[in-house]
């Protein structure tokens, strides 16, 4: 098994969901965004309520308390597990089995921020994230939650004009996907590198043909043709 951050959750249908837990670096940046937002809101509270003397101060303190503890809970429960900071970095909170976070778990993981915060600015939280495989802080461990990366959207590509070529032999899933990725990524590769990659796959192209090698610049366009065929173009 090769090393990866992913872990799998098997659904009853036999489909395995691949989940990608988010580590401390991106989480700290997301947290920074959130704390800046909270600071901004608090500043508004305190300046607006400063006109009401001590009563205003009291109300502002209560509001800032509620904001500190229930801001994440609100966003986790009603905004698909994403506080504004997490949304900015494409993260979301969910249960370990990728189901939506439950209210109890959300409250627990946020109340336990108090523990993670110890002894100074999330010291325990960082240590816990560095030690656990899914980068969970203590609150996450207790609540059974995990912060995940939202899956990456591949850039959509323009329709390829290359003529579709049927593959000389049937390809397995892995190979089909490799060809499709080749097609998707070719705009980001240099022409030389693309050809170099395509030359690696020549045994496929030479199959059932009498050629011994393929001319330069030919391999990549023929592979693109096969990729097109796999993507559904049949002409």
């Amino acid at each position: 098994m090769t090393l990866d951050t992913l872990y799998q959750v098997n659904t009853p249908e036999g489909i395995s969901l691949r989940l990608s837990p988010a580590g401390p670096v991106v989480r700290m940046l997301a947290w920074t965004i959130d704390i800046l937002i909270r600071l901004g809101i608090n500043a508004v509270f305190f300046t607006a309520l400063a006109f009401f003397g001590k009563t205003g101060l009291g109300i502002a303190l209560i509001l800032s308390f509620l904001l500190e503890w229930f801001y994440p809970v609100y966003f986790e429960l009603y905004k698909k597990g994403q506080t504004p900071g997490k949304k900015m970095f494409n993260l979301y909170v969910s249960m370990e089995d990728a189901s939506p976070i439950s209210p109890g778990a959300s409250i627990i993981r946020n109340l336990l921020r108090f523990v993670d915060f110890l002894p100074f600015l999330y010291g325990f939280g960082f240590i816990s994230m560095l030690l656990t495989k899914r980068f969970q802080r203590l609150g996450d461990l207790v609540a059974g939650t995990v912060v995940l990366h939202k899956s990456l959207n591949y850039p959509t590509i323009e329709e390829d004009k290359t003529k579709a070529i049927s593959p000389p032999v049937a390809l397995n899933l892995n190979e089909q996907q490799a060809l499709i990725r080749f097609q998707q990524r070719i705009p980001y590769l240099t022409a030389e590198r693309a050809e170099e990659l395509a030359q690696i796959a020549t045994p496929l192209l030479l199959k059932n043909s009498n050629e011994n090698s393929i001319e330069n610049k030919q391999a990549s366009s023929r592979l693109l043709g096969i990729a097109n065929w796999i993507m559904g173009a049949k002409h």
């Binding site: 988010a22 580590g23 030690l131 990366h149 390809l171 397995n172 899933l173 996907q177 490799a178």
Partner: protein, 534 residues
């Protein structure tokens, strides 16, 4: 560099995920990394401490911090070998130190490149690609195109995490100290007034060395993973790996298969995923690469054994739980089976008797019900009061109290002319006695003339409340006023003004001490005064 030997899953990741992969690397290979690294860092730290002891530990800390690029190189050396499946012993790592010092641009890193924000990300170009001069800077600018932002943020965040860990360690240490000692430390640290002990310096130094040793591999690991990801993006390493596997498969196929089997393959062209080809593929694919891209569960079972699993599952308690629930059901009398007429039945024989007995018992029961109803009516007095219905009989049994709040409220205890007597007392400055007499007179009037049923357990407030419905509005207004004045003098020793008192006397005559018939007429035009004395 042999891509086939790579131990991490190569796929195109988003840069943050790549950073996380770096963390996973350190988590997985922690022993191979931390053992040589700790030897190095703690070795250097001890030497520095010996050179700059007492009072100059901060210089040792500063130099230790400045030497970070050296540790970077050692960590990257270990990680890069690990990534391509090359196990290094601690001794091998330490032996590689001289070449790491001389051949990796360490001098530049320690001088004018020390503060580069992307130094972790750039390191592989120096150390692994061994590029120098203009080629290096071109290469670096290509790699930086997308990754530089992430590399810089990574450095900033990791520096912060390092600081947090140092302060956390110190904070944790402080938490376990008695409060007084902890305070002294703080005072000692931030002022020069108290001479604090040297070992605190040493402790802080150790915490710092420990934090650097702990955090730095994660920084270099993440930077390296970011670099690998950027190269994967540029050079499509993932596709190269898959194409190599594909090529290997077809070369073996070409060598091993007899030409007759080729017909099967040409036939299978019709469908993209022929089962024959797929089987061949899995047979040849001895490595577990399918799980890299197959988005299906690893734990799929063959059909026969999954059938077995399904059977077992269907037999589990959860799916076969049976419960016995008992409840009453009305018997369906209509469907009662008729008895066989020929057969002698004990029940049939006694049926007429049973009917007669039933009639008699039913009749007797009805009589009983009638008797009970009659008795209930006859002795209604003894039980009806249980339902708390107010009845005349109760009113008749009412006994007027003789003493209320220590006052004699018998009618004959009063003087004939209450007002003049009270007025005389008031003029004599006997305010209390005067008001007491007036209030007592009011109470007696309520009891005897207005027929308000006062009890000796009532308070002044109760008297007011109970009399509200019984007397006219004007009278109640007066009573309210009087009660207030009385309470003020009785409990607060504050007597009303002469005018208020005069008004009370007047209202007594005009509103209160009059016959009911008259008062009923007057109650339609309530008096305004008498209520605002307080």
């Amino acid at each position: 560099m042999n891509l086939n030997e790579i131990t991490a899953n190569i796929r195109l990741r988003n840069p943050w995920e790549a950073i996380d992969l770096g963390f996973s690397m350190v988590q997985k290979w922690w022993l191979s990394i931390y053992l040589p690294l700790a030897l190095l860092t703690f070795g250097i730290a001890s030497v520095l401490y010996l050179i700059f002891p007492k009072g100059n530990v901060w210089i040792a800390s500063l130099i230790f911090w400045w030497l970070k690029p050296l540790y970077d190189r050692v960590i990257l050396h270990i990680l890069s070998h690990k990534l391509f499946n090359d196990e290094l012993s601690t001794w091998q790592v330490l032996k590689a130190l001289p070449s790491l010092i001389w051949n990796t641009g360490l001098f530049q890193s320690l001088t004018f490149r020390r503060f580069s924000l992307s130094r972790g990300f750039n390191l592989p170009i120096w150390q692994l690609e061994q590029l120098r001069g203009s080629r290096r800077s071109e290469r670096q600018s290509v790699l930086h195109q997308i990754a530089h932002t992430y590399a810089a943020w990574l450095t900033i965040v990791m520096v912060n995490i390092e600081i947090v860990i140092v302060i956390s360690l110190f904070g944790l240490f402080m938490l376990f100290l008695p409060e007084k000692t902890a305070n002294d430390f703080f005072v000692g640290m931030f002022s020069n007034k108290v001479e604090y002990e040297r070992w605190i310096d040493l402790l802080n130094y150790l915490f710092y060395v420990f934090a650097v040793t702990l955090i730095h591999p994660f920084y270099i690991g993440a930077s390296f993973a970011l670099y690998i990801n950027r190269r994967t993006q540029l050079e499509a390493w993932d596709i190269e790996l898959d194409f190599k596997k594909l090529a290997l498969r077809f070369e073996t196929l070409a060598r091993n298969l007899i030409p007759a089997l080729l017909c099967v393959f040409t036939l299978s062209l019709l469908s993209t995923s022929s089962p024959v080809a797929a089987d061949e593929a899995t047979n040849l694919d001895t490595t577990s690469e399918t799980q890299v891209t197959e988005f299906l569960s690893d734990e799929r079972l063959p059909a026969e054994s999954s059938k077995q699993v399904i059977k077992e599952t269907m037999l589990t308690k959860e799916l076969n739980d049976k419960q016995t629930v008992t409840y009453w059901v009305r018997k369906d009398t209509a469907k009662k089976p008729k008895n066989d007429p020929d057969k002698f039945s004990f029940a049939d024989f006694f049926e007429p008797f049973a009917k007669i007995m039933g009639f008699i018992i039913e009749f007797a029961l009805w009589i009983l019900v009638a008797i009970v109803l009659f008795l209930l009516f006859y002795f209604r007095d003894s039980w009806l009061h249980l339902f708390n219905i107010e009845r005349k009989a109760k009113k008749e049994s009412y006994q007027a109290p003789e003493v209320m709040f220590g006052m004699d409220v018998r009618p004959d205890s009063l003087p004939d002319d209450i007002i003049s007597e009270s007025r005389k007392l008031w003029d004599n400055k006997q305010h209390r006695e005067s008001l007491s007499l007036l209030y007592r007179g009011a109470l007696i009037r309520l009891i005897n003339i207005e027929h308000v049923q006062l009890k000796d357990s009532f308070t002044e407030g109760d008297v007011l409340k109970h009399s509200q419905k019984k007397i006219s509005e004007a009278k109640h207004l007066f009573l309210d006023n009087l009660t207030n004045n009385w309470k003020m003098i009785a409990y607060a020793h504050r007597h009303p003004t002469n005018e208020a008192m005069e008004q009370l006397f007047n209202t007594w005559v005009s509103d209160f001490a009059i016959e009911n018939v008259l008062s009923d007429l007057e109650s339609n035009t309530p008096k305004k005064d008498g209520s605002k004395d307080e």
